[in-house]
Symmetry: C4
Subunit: 277 residues, 4 copies
């Protein structure tokens, strides 16, 4: 009802297109979403394969043709979105509106400027739209829980990251002073790069200490990385547990008799006074 | 009782074989399981050693002989399973039925086609049967708890993996644009491969950025990998805690009135019927 | 009030400077803190860039000039801190007092001794002052929670680190005996260095086993590293959960009789005096 | 009392030595423990430095002398332990008794056989004795909690390790079939070694896929390693939380009036009926 009232400024054919493109509850909307998803994935794969020199030499013409087909499809989608919405400006200036435009622009620009095709990979961001289909199922709740937990711990993660960056700067500088430049510690920024590689336990090995003193300090850095790695895990896990354990066990119902709270979801009687909930 | 009724279409000798092969509670069944387990492990070790060029040259004949001995043992086991079961089709088409067939087929095929022997490693999957022995002990509960926790968090892990893949695609493409091909970033798929190596903190170092800009972005990717690594740990840990802690929060008392269970430790009244506990 | 009484031995102009430099609640104090923060970060970036040989050749004179400008700024700040505080000795001998001195000394010493400029990186430690600004917002609580959790688990982490070091020594020595020196295991300290690299899952690859026996032992070490890595995470996470969950288990109600706090959510009577809540 | 009765078969001078060597509560015992600890650490450092070729050439004689001094000290300690204990056999055959013997034997054997000196590193195990000093403080409780948690989750960790080994075998074999031997996948055992390196996120890079197909599979393995790494962390963390949260919050006291349990450690009155505890 309120939905129909809100959309009253749309003509019936616009409303139909709107329903197919923006909604995901009807069969047509679901089909459209899945089709679009496949088109996005395939177009991204094409962009990827195009970047492989040996494949590009062989199938250059096929890639060029497919690219244009997808660009036309996405252009039609973009136009359909604009004409079927009440306030086109709001869509055009939204995150997805800009992404949608950026995903078709590079091909057109490629007619005039050579080299801009690599921008087409912005389409990768369109993959985020995949979550719209996931909305159909119970995924919404899950991804919301994930997002909420990370959001709730963002302050602590920020404090943690600042501490890690300060630590990396100090450790990198110490290694720059201690290690020879032959081992790869040619400047402080490069040494900080090494410190981050080591603290995060990535460990490429492109820069590695070769002097005994450097290796001794590196060992301490690695063992510190142990404890440090535990911190973000602890932050996010404790947040997850809070979100995960609460809503599923405890009901929000309060007893009518003794107004006690904290009853289980499946409780029929108050566990304190015995009255029916 | 119900068990005997179910198996009534089996002859006594079939029932005996069935008990030895399929059950693990009797002494004969346990012995058979352990014997089969050893045979599987030894045959897998033979397949492994056969793949080492220097060993294969030296002991080729011994390997060939042992391989045939195990193939005959596993063939007899396969036949015994088929003839001792009520509905052979159900076994033949089951996961383990197919694995059992695939683990003997390659040796026979090897008589006709050269090179198919490497398929014998499918026997590795047979190692999964090891869990059947573990069933005997209290391992069932443990592995079930493990499995349940992972199963319960599969939606969230899927959402997480999709996010990681999207992120890897975007980061890989950025690095492809920024880094020179000399450093190993020769195509977008290879750059995505690098992004996955870095985000998962594996860090082979076969592809590593060499320009300052590339190293700067790589540092950001590594620090992001920190926080990202914490997410699956958080998901699974919070699930484990739920499964692990629940029995301790829930009392073992059952209601005298309605004999329902699962009351809180501090409950005074039954939460289902209201009777005092 | 109590604040004014405490500072009564300061002259008005000293009090004003004190408020700007040491407090972060007023607009002037906030502006000063942000300005100082920017100066610290820029001066650290200059020190970093100076260490890059190609940049130092090009912009040596600019770096030298900027360095002197920042040194004069930090000298003025140091003098202002000393004259605006009641007990200058307490500041001079405090952690930040020493850091502040060390961050200006190297430039002056550089006039007499060549090579001491690398000490200027001590300024990195000054970055820790960033947390003073963060104090303004709600970050205090967050960083305090983080610190408390790590502090509370320091005994267990120490025990854990001692166990890891003992293990690394044993594993390193075994590998030194097993592996050839060609693979990089030239001495026991180097082998211990390898063991730490492997146990912490950093894995540079500069030292890696090449014999089958060495690779077999390395595999066991890696799988052990799995379980070991889980221990500090478990310690810190369980501590975080305790700190994070407590306020939710504890009611905010205070007893009407004895006004004590910290009662459980489901408590009916005060646990200290027995009065009904 | 019961202690004195137990030791009655020891002469006074034996009891005195026993107290110094085996107990850690008296001043003499504490001093002896710390002295022994320092001797162990220094002797281990000597063994380490002796293995560095350049140092051994220079200081060979000093190392040889120090080694003999420590061997005599540890021999005296070993003899003192035997003569001051009621049942010497029990000590000689215990874990530490064997370690103590093994830590002095290599030097004596070195007089007859050349090359046995490397066995001296068994002294590293003696470092475990460090925990005896830690016993003095509150570390006992901590290390016991750590040990209990790991012990309680040993079944689940075993199941997990078996699953990881099965998975590594399968993944290693697939990579052996897919990848060329040029990349280092020369045999199945080596490929399994690679799979373990990758799943544990160590990532040496000595063996790394070079074909697109191999890199694709490797990417999947790495992402699987993500989720797998979370399992042991989850197991141990959930165990820690159980041990960590329980004893410190909940007292074992039960109310005399209503015999309710689960009161806080600092509770004076029953939270359910208000009676004094």
């Amino acid at each position: 009802m309120s939905k129909a009232i809100k959309k009253s400024n749309l003509k019936p054919w616009q409303e139909k297109i709107h329903e197919v493109i923006f909604e995901a509850d009807t069969f047509a909307g679901k089909t459209f979403d899945i089709g679009l998803l496949i088109a996005i994935i395939v177009s991204i794969i094409i962009v990827m394969l195009e970047s492989v020199p040996s494949l590009n030499e062989k199938y250059h013409d096929s890639f060029y043709l497919t690219e244009w087909i997808f660009t036309i499809i996405f252009t039609l989608e973009y136009v359909a979105r604009i004409i079927s919405i009440g306030k086109p400006n709001k869509y055009i200036l939204s995150f997805y509106g800009i992404i949608d435009l950026l995903s078709i622009l590079p091909t057109y620009l490629g007619l005039f400027i050579i080299g801009s095709q690599s921008l087409m990979v912005i389409r990768a961001v369109r993959l985020l739209r995949i979550f719209r289909i996931l909305k159909l199922a119970r995924f919404v709740k899950e991804s919301k829980t994930l997002g909420d937990s990370i959001k709730a711990s963002r302050h602590r993660i920020l404090v943690f990251l600042l501490a890690v960056l300060t630590l990396s700067t100090i450790l990198g500088t110490i290694m720059y002073l201690v290690e020879s430049s032959e081992a790869g510690f040619t400047s402080i920024p490069r040494s900080i790069y090494w410190a981050i590689i080591t603290l995060t336990t990535v460990g490429y090995g492109d820069i590695a200490p070769i002097t005994p003193m450097g290796q001794f300090i590196a060992s301490i850095v690695m063992i510190m990385g142990y404890a440090i790695l535990a911190v973000p895990t602890g932050i996010i896990t404790s947040e997850f547990i809070k979100t995960n354990n609460q809503p599923q066990k405890i009901s929000t119902k309060s007893c009518n008799e003794c107004s006690s709270e904290g009853h289980d979801e499946d409780a029929i009687h108050c566990k304190y006074c015995g009255a029916e909930l």
